[in-house]
Symmetry: C2
Amino acid sequence: MKTLVIIGHPELPDSSTQQFLKRAAELPSVTWHPVTAEPLNITAEQRLLRQADRIILQFPLYWYSAPAVLKNWLDQVLTRQFAYPEAAGALVGKELGIAVSLGSPARNFKAGAPEHFSVSQIMTPFQALAHKLKMVFLPTFVIDQFGYQTDAEKAKLLINYQRYLTQGDLDHFEAQADWLTTQFQSLIAQKPSEQKQQLTLILEQLKNNQADLNDLKTNLKMIQNMEDS
Amino acid sequence: MKTLVIIGHPELPDSSTQQFLKRAAELPSVTWHPVTAEPLNITAEQRLLRQADRIILQFPLYWYSAPAVLKNWLDQVLTRQFAYPEAAGALVGKELGIAVSLGSPARNFKAGAPEHFSVSQIMTPFQALAHKLKMVFLPTFVIDQFGYQTDAEKAKLLINYQRYLTQGDLDHFEAQADWLTTQFQSLIAQKPSEQKQQLTLILEQLKNNQADLNDLKTNLKMIQNMEDS
């Protein structure tokens, strides 16, 4: 699966959040693509979109929407001829995700809390876009006040962000375990041979644990079904 | 009441919708203010906002949001220092309206219909903006495929648009009648004296009809209350 990350940030070099995410996105199947205010080569931009399976729009929330630099990109690159399913329908079936960084705490985004609206409600225009273009809209990835995060929170953010970019099925627990196994395997491959054996044993142990866990879940489900009937 | 209409349209001179609305907005209390991609004088823009009681953001819907030219204006002009209620709070208590022109039929904007989301849902980011700045969010004014409208529909659009810009209380029937009376009076004032008497008689008749209508509504309400108790 190929992932294209389209970053819209008017002050990209100054953003510690974006620099962190950029390092996290240094993965073989991921293309990091910041957009600028300079005149766009529409054909080249559309070619990038065509090549991707998962498209992530990544930006800081500016007045509850994308910054102008990203809106300009959307307005210009997504021509009707290119994007409308009745025309070329170039994005039909692809995934659309939003990776948004928040300047105020994520807990504030709900009815009754200071921001009053949920992030999902605020993302409705992007959901409508995905619907119009027959894309699969992914759950929005929220980066919650990066500057205030502890090192442990940042480590967790890194893993979750990499999963958001590359994990096949974002909804399922089994897919998450598979994703972690794959990451671990590629990590082992980079290690000197004396460490390889030890790490491979750890990985086997993790896989066994995972198999046990899956068995337990299956049994639990059977018991629940018996109770229901 | 002073109204400021901020128009964000990348091809303003070519838009028959905007030309029509511009003529309709030629009213004493209304300032017509198109924004451009040229560098902004932030202080001057903020001064305009301070002077207004009702602020209308007017634009064609581009990918379920404002065109980039207007988003750029919002990103730059609404500085935290200027807009946040905890800072200068320059917009607290003012009204915020959205006048949006649609390229696809308004009836398509609901669950199950082609656009799937309502215009209100799509406008959530602007509603969140109004909430944040402690502004009063007005019902969105929808211009439904102007190019396909009949002359009668355009005449109705003109009146409703002028009401949207200038009527004090947009919710109430009585306020609408008052608004029409005021418009009619200023029309009479411009006519030659031989027509004035005749038009004044018509206006008096309309006012009497309005008074009768209000009486009928009061009686109806009383009867309903008796039935309920």
